[in-house]
Each structure stands twice: as C-alpha cells, then as structure tokens.
Symmetry: C2
Subunit: 232 residues, 2 copies
Amino acid sequence: MGFCETCVVRNRAICAALDSTEIQALNAIGRRRKLEPGQSLLWEGEDSLLVANVIDGVLKLSTGTADGREQIVGVVYPSDFIGRPFGQQTAHSVTALTDAVVCVFSRSDFDNFAREHPALEHKLLQRTLSELDRTRRWMLLLGRKSASERIAAFLLDMSERLVEPGCTTPPDAPHQTFDLPFSRQQVADVLGLTIETVSRQFTKLKSDGVIDLPSRRTVTILDREALEDRAG
Amino acid sequence: MGFCETCVVRNRAICAALDSTEIQALNAIGRRRKLEPGQSLLWEGEDSLLVANVIDGVLKLSTGTADGREQIVGVVYPSDFIGRPFGQQTAHSVTALTDAVVCVFSRSDFDNFAREHPALEHKLLQRTLSELDRTRRWMLLLGRKSASERIAAFLLDMSERLVEPGCTTPPDAPHQTFDLPFSRQQVADVLGLTIETVSRQFTKLKSDGVIDLPSRRTVTILDREALEDRAG
DNA sequence: CGATGGTTTGAGATATATCAAACCTCGTGG
DNA sequence: CCACGAGGTTTGATATATCTCAAACCATCG
C-alpha cells in the first residue's frame, strides 16, 4: 500500500493520467518529503537529480546574479510539478516558502517511467505549456509595468491562485482576504523591485482604501475593480 | 510526395521523432507558408487555430498592454515550434522579423496527430521545457539587470543563437559579426528599455571598443570577454 | 523587558524615461 | 545624377520613478 491512493492531489497532479495499476508502479519509485520554510529542494546550476509533485505548501523558483541580486521566476502550489525532467541541469533553485510536502522522484527513475507512459507525458506537456504562457505574461510585467501596476497585478494574481480547491463556497472564486506566503523582500524579488518600493506601494493602496492590511502578511481586497484598473 | 522529405529542418525540428511513414501522414495535414517582415501569423488573445514549425527566418513572440507598451517575450528560429497546442487561446502574437517560411498545421489536426504519436509529443515536451528554462533566465534580466548588463547579455545571446547550423567552420561557434534581425525599437522591446537607452548603450559599447557597428543592424564583437564581464 | 528580524518612513542620489531636435540612410522621382 | 522625403537612429536637455542609504518602528519571542 502506497501513499498515492489517498493523496490529496491524486486527481489534480499529473498523476491523474494514470490508472490504479500504473499509480502503484509510480508509487514504488516516489517518496514523500517534508520541507520547512526556507528549506531548498534543488539548487540553481546543479545536476538535475530530482523531480517532484507538490502535495502541500507553496514553493518559489529563483535565480540570482553573482553579486547577490535575486529574481523569483515562479511560484508553485499543490498539484504543480517541479524540477527538470529530461535535462542535465537545474536552471533555478526551488525553496519552500511555507511548510510543504512534496512527492519526490529520482529524475532518471521518473524519466524512464514517463517515457513508458505517454498519458503522463501528455499531462506534463500541458502543464509545461501553461506555465510557459504564464511566465511570458509575467515578462510583460517585469519589462514594461510601473511599480504600482506590478503590485496591483501581483495582488490580483495571489487572490486567484491562493484559492484552496474545494474549500470556498462559490467554487474557486478569488479570495477577498488571504495570507501572502511571501515576506516583503520576497514580493520585491517576484516583482523586480526593492523592498522599500513594495512597502510604499502597499501603504499607498491602503491609504487609498483599495486594500486593507490587517497584519503583516494578510491582505484584504476592498475594491477589486480599482485594483484591476491599476494593474495596467 | 510532400515537402517533408527534403525539409531543411527535418532532422532538427520535432519532426525528427517520426519515421518516413509517419512523416508522410504529418505532411498530409501541413502546408508551407511564406511571411514577410512585419507579417503576423497569430494574434494575442485570439483562438488558437494554428501551430507551426519554423523552416526559415526569425519571428518574434510579443504581448502588449492596452495603452500600447510592448514586450517581446520570445524569439524563434528555424526548427523551433510556434503556437499553442492543446489550448484554446494564443497568449501572444507571432510576427515575422525577416522573410520567413513556416510549416503550418491546424491546431486540432496537430493535436490529434500528436496524441497518437508519443515520440512527437516527447520532442515537443523537451523543447517546451528548454524554452521555459530560457524564458525564466530572461526574467532575471528583466527584473534585476541594468541597461548596460541587458545590452551585453543580449548581444552575447544573439551571437550564439544566430549561428546557422552547419555553416561555420568550427561547428556552432558563436559569431563575431552578425546582423541583428531587430530594429532598435525591437531590441528595446526585448529588453524592457526605451529606444534611446538602447541607442546610447550601443554607442557606449562602441566608443569603449567592445563592439563595432559597421551598419545599422550589423554588430561585430571586438572584445567578447569585456562583453561577458558587463553581462552581469 | 530587551533583543531580534522584518517593516515602514524619510531624504537624497541616480539610472532610465521623456521630450525634442538633429542626423543618417536609402529609395524615389525629377 | 542630385534633391527630396521618409523612417529609423542618434544626441541632447530635462524630468521622474525607483533605488539607496539611514533611521525609526513594530511585532515576536526568549
């Protein structure tokens, strides 16, 4: 008996492509791993030895320059796939932002398994295509948008993505109040800004009555329409 | 008899996954199309009706804001794949920068064909994963690098990617002299800068003796090491 | 309660954008 | 063959958004 049968992301992760016989085979090569906030699973530039599915928690993908500047290039949530299958190098670090649980595979085991299960590869392809679209949309924000537009777009994105599936009464409606899994510095690293600029934009949105900030990491959207206008 | 047998990208595009019987079937659903500079194949936000392989030329992928700001989110070369299979919407426009030839498929035809040919999907997956890595690396440039770092990184990237396979004496060595397929404005749209800043950085690199600019679109790298130092 | 780490606020510096004009390059037509 | 015009490019002067440096602030936790 493995974990897969009772896995909370069984039907949302790429595993949904597999029947119960196949999932047992996958179960045999995977293992669960817990991560604490700040703990990394993969490091930029290292050999690609692991891939994984996110079961619970939020993780960041990040790259940096030699002199210490950092850019967060992706954020992953439960059911998302992480790591670089079919490749030698990991292009970015993967680090937990919250307590997290992942389902880890050795890359070579996973590669072999995937090559024998086209339906699994197909799910992975769909996911990768969507992620590429999302990433390219983010490039517009980084290349062309002002600080206030970036913050507004970020908050809207968070309100949509932090929705826990199956929890809210109207299915998958965006939240009005949510806890950011990011520190101010991490928000800055997502948006290509400095921590001071992020802080100032937050307080501006608050004093303009667009959002409320009940605590450091909690955001309440008071006027979603105004936020959409500001997102550019 | 179709085009595929004599196609110059037959062994580099995703078609390389197919044997001669399969490629005939693919040939039956594809057709060639020529594009002039400035001509678009796909438009942001429209239904995803076409996908294609690039046979010759260079094309840009771009998105923009409502008020006219533009960001180039990708550049594709011969053997690259374009369009959004397995999805309803095209997330970005695709426009020729040079004279170009593409091999076009209706998306639904391609989707059906691909689902029956796992080896083709596998090639597409590999390509998409590589493109995602590349795109995420570009986010570091857009989010965290200065104008001079962006220009240096851009020129190095161009010198590597504009290499015509099989043409240079040392196989796939980066070029010292090459013609940019971009106007100054387009370089600005790739790098998230203004045309004036791009121009000033070019002239600075020239007066510093790092590059030469024999004509508007021609670049000669005089000191590659200096360029690498400046790329951050 | 006092240390600690993260956050906010302030004042000033600066890289890049903006606005505007001059300058090429190249094709066209007289 | 030269003058002209048009598009793209470079250069210049100025504005400004964001960064930088620094201090004050605030929660949290021993």
